[in-house]
């Protein structure tokens, strides 16, 4: 028990979790926007847009996240000079958000597509028969129902994103949980079990409410037909 108290007093565990939450929230925002754009491209009547979105999803779904994160620093930043800030920490934070967003968008797109599959084809036909164009049918009828039909897979994507945010360490974000954990293990190998428990419990505490919320919402928002 003493070990826990010492660890929590010496290290800013809460601050580290806040960094992961921040990474997650920004990435959730950007990946949702990008994911919606991708899924609209995938169902659009223009075949070249469908192909581009399909290729994007296949590429990012199959790349390991660590490779994307390392590329953000060594490729996008070091070679291609993509920089968000002159402050190193800020710059790496936003590079990590970019990598996480690009990666997660592919999964958001797939989650939404599973939601679109729950919308009967007749809904789109009725919209077209009334003279609505693709954008109007998508934004008024298809996507609102698809969102409500994909709450559960979107929730799972969010949970995966929160856990994946620890890979930001690979993009040199040194203040987040997995970096802090490595540091703690290095300096306090005597209380290694406590260190594991702190981080394991931290994530469980964060993730269980997300799961409960998505279960609740997916029932509450389900489209009645």
């Amino acid at each position: 028990m003493n070990g826990f108290v010492q660890l929590l007093q010496t290290y800013d565990v809460l601050g580290a979790f806040l960094v992961n939450i921040e990474l997650t929230l920004w990435s959730a925002l950007f990946s949702t926007v990008l994911g919606v754009i991708l899924v609209m491209m995938r169902i659009s009547p223009i075949s070249s847009l469908r192909a581009v979105a399909g290729a994007y999803v296949e590429l990012f779904k199959n790349l390991p996240l660590t490779i994307i994160m390392v590329f953000m620093v060594l490729g996008a930043y070091a070679q291609l000079k993509l920089s968000f800030s002159d402050t190193f920490a800020t710059n790496f934070f936003w590079l990590a958000v970019t990598g996480l967003s690009l990666y997660t968008a592919a999964f958001v797109c797939e989650s939404l597509r599973s939601g679109i599959n729950t919308v009967p084809i007749g809904q789109a036909e009725a919209a077209r028969a009334l003279g609505l164009n693709f954008m109007q049918a998508a934004t008024q009828i298809i996507l609102p129902q698809a969102f409500r039909g994909s709450v559960a897979p979107l929730g799972n994507t969010l949970i995966a994103l929160l856990k994946n945010s620890t890979v930001a360490a690979a993009a040199s974000v040194s203040t987040e949980t997995s970096s802090l954990m490595s540091e703690m293990i290095e300096f306090r190998p005597d209380v290694i079990v406590q260190i594991f428990l702190i981080f394991a419990l931290g994530y469980v505490i964060l993730i269980i409410p997300i799961g409960m919320l998505t279960t609740y919402l997916s029932n509450k928002l389900a489209v009645r037909r």
Partner: protein, 265 residues
């Protein structure tokens, strides 16, 4: 193509007006395949303004497919379809505006599940016709009142019975002030006790002079409301006649067989 047009419709008036009898929907040599299946075989059909056409035939005869080609929910392989003299455009803006002129009622109602009854009716007038929201709501309430579901305006579609949903679907189509209404088996998914409430609305619409193409198995409705019966089997139009002639003196064996099967009980 352009000189052929003249031959096909020599009596077509040059100035579009409201005179009844003007051809509104014209299908010429329409062919369609689903893979190996030849679903529409050389369909030629003209529907004049104000006419009520009822399409009957055994299932799988291509009735619904033909109905759906008229607003291009199904594409065709060859042939020509014209609405009010204009050929059906390719997918895009023009097609959307043409679809706005052709009302469609589906077998499975297809009311927008995420919108209230009122919003279902006002959506297209507001988004497509750019009608003022208040004006669209007045129009919608008028139409919902006419089909007898005005009291349900603020409910969601799933809270209504099938018959009520289908009447809302008719009101939704009418809100676009269409030139022609397509009915694709509108009562086939209904419980028996709800069939008549929908047919009553359709009969009323027919008496008001709406141009209608109805695919249906309701022979009572066909007799009562149709100006002309089209009998289809195996993707072909086999007979076209007035209801009396068709039901009393069917010409082809297929039609006799079909009628004997449905009229015996």
């Amino acid at each position: 193509m352009s000189d052929k047009k003249e031959e096909v419709r020599p009596t077509m008036p040059l100035v579009p007006g409201d005179e009844p009898g003007r051809p509104l929907v014209e299908l010429t040599h329409v062919e369609k395949h689903f893979g190996d299946l030849h679903v529409l075989k050389d369909i030629n059909l003209t529907v004049n303004k104000g006419e009520v056409l009822v399409v009957v035939g055994p299932s799988g005869s291509g009735k619904s497919t033909m109905c759906r080609t008229i607003n291009r929910l199904e594409t065709i392989d060859s042939g020509d379809i014209r609405i009010d003299g204009k050929p059906l455009p390719q997918e895009g803006k023009e097609l959307a505006s043409l679809r706005a002129e052709v009302g469609m009622v589906f077998q499975s109602f297809n009311l927008f599940a995420n919108k209230t009854i009122l919003d279902n009716v006002t959506l297209a007038p507001v988004k497509v016709r750019h009608m003022d929201k208040k004006e669209a709501e007045r129009l919608a309430m008028d139409l919902l009142d006419r089909v007898g579901v005005a009291t349900q305006a603020n409910k969601m579609p799933s809270q209504l019975s099938g018959g009520q949903q289908q009447r809302v679907a008719i009101a939704r189509a009418l809100a676009m002030k269409p030139k022609v209404m397509l009915f694709d088996e509108p009562t086939s998914a209904l419980d028996p006790e709800m069939v008549n409430e929908v047919l009553d609305v359709m009969v009323e619409l027919a008496h008001e002079g709406m141009t209608m193409i109805c695919v249906t198995h309701e022979m009572g409705f066909a007799r009562k409301a149709a100006d002309r019966i089209v009998f289809m089997a195996d993707g072909q139009i086999l007979e076209q006649n007035t209801p009396d002639e068709f039901f009393e003196h069917p010409q082809t064996d297929r039609a006799k067989d079909f009628l004997s099967k449905i009229l015996t009980h």
